[in-house]
Every structure is written in C-alpha cells, then in structure tokens.
Amino acid sequence: MAVASPHVTSYAVEATEFPDLARRYQVSGVPKTIVNEEVEILGALPPDAYIEQALAHVAPK
C-alpha cells in the first residue's frame, strides 16, 4: 500500500519485543493494524476489505 500511495506509511511492529507499544494499542492478538492511531483492523482480511477499512476514515468512497 505504501508503494501504491505516497501518503501511506507502513510499520511492521514486532509486538512481543515492544510490550509498551502492544499495551498502548491493546494488542491481544495478531495481526492487528492501527491506522492513524485510531482505526483498528483485527486479523488478516482479504485485500479489498483490508484496504477499505484502512482508508475508510481518510478517503471515504
């Protein structure tokens, strides 16, 4: 997604190494995605659904 848009930045964060981040974002299962500190996406979704959820609040269709 970061390759397809100059506005997208992606971090893959290893949750067990950084318990402070896991706590801050209440990560109890993985994968869990946090978008702009507010939107949560739980689990691995099909690409269309994942992209929609990630962009829903910044670029409504």
Binding site: M1, A2, V3, A4, S5, P6, H7, V8, T9, S10, Y11, A12, V13, E14, A15, T16, E17, F18, L21, A22, Y25, V27, V30, P31, K32, T33, I34, V35, N36, E37, P47, D48, I51, A54, L55, V58, A59
Partner: protein, 149 residues
C-alpha cells in the same frame, strides 16, 4: 554459520531477481539495551550476498538523529527501506516501509517481499486497488502488529 539453507538462498535469489532498482536497507541500531540488534544484523547480513541490488547501511537511532527523524524511527532494532532514485548517484527515496523489531520468523518473509517490492517487483494489488490508493490525499500511517511465529 549461515541462517539460511542453500535451498532457501536459492528461493531468495529468485525473488530478488525480479528487482529492477537498487534498494538500501537502513538498519537502525542502538548501543545499549538492544537485545535483538545483533540478531537483526545477522539476519540482514544474509541478504546482500544473494542480490547485487541490496545494500545495508547501519545507523544509530541516537547518534544519527536526523536520519532517525527523517524515517520516523524512534527505537531499535528497526529497518527502513529506501531505493535509489536513479536521477542522482546515491540519492535515496524513502519507500515509507519500516520494520520495527527483529525480522525473524514470518516477518523475515515479509521483509524479503518488501525489499523485492521496493526494488521494483510488480505489486500484487489489482489495478482497482492501486487506483483506490492513488486517490488518497491525506497521510495514512499503518502500524501492523505481529509476533515472530
């Protein structure tokens, strides 16, 4: 001793063969209190022998403050992927793809795929998905939490 079997090395060579431009992995380390920096360095060192399109640059998250800020890195180990623009020798363009924590287990596969993608391998996204992303005009910062297994 190497971490990868000859068969794994061969698979990675094939993946990296699709790259069309040089990628630089900016590896942010820190001197104290970084338990997995050594492991991360070991993992990263496995890759450049498999392709002439990948180099590793080690930086210090404390001492190389400017780069750390530029790439949005505030802890170690972390890897930021950049690629050479091609219009000026050595000029780097941020891919905005970062890995925080040691890229072991499944994250290693993700790192390899990300390097190939940043290196110009065609995206797996559909034309519609790419168009949807191209229309984004506000910052989107995604943090994907994973575990090593």
């Amino acid at each position: 001793m190497g971490l990868l079997s000859p068969a794994d090395q061969q698979k990675l060579r094939e993946t990296f063969a699709e790259m069309t431009r040089p990628v630089r992995a900016l590896f942010f380390t820190q001197t104290l209190g970084c338990e997995t920096c050594g492991l991360t360095r070991q993992i990263l060192d496995e890759l450049p022998p498999l392709t002439d399109k990948l180099t590793i640059e080690e930086l210090n998250v404390v001492l190389d403050k400017e780069q750390a800020r530029q790439y949005g890195i505030d802890r170690a180990p972390a890897i930021a992927l950049a690629y050479e623009r091609g219009d000026a020798p050595g000029a780097l363009e941020d891919s905005r793809i970062r890995f925080v924590g040691a890229p072991s287990g499944y994250e290693f596969i993700s790192l390899v795929q990300a390097i190939a993608l940043v290196g110009g391998r065609p995206s797996a996204l559909s034309a519609e998905q790419r168009a949807r992303l191209a229309a984004v005009d506000k910052p989107v910062v995604m943090q994907v939490f994973t575990t090593p297994t």
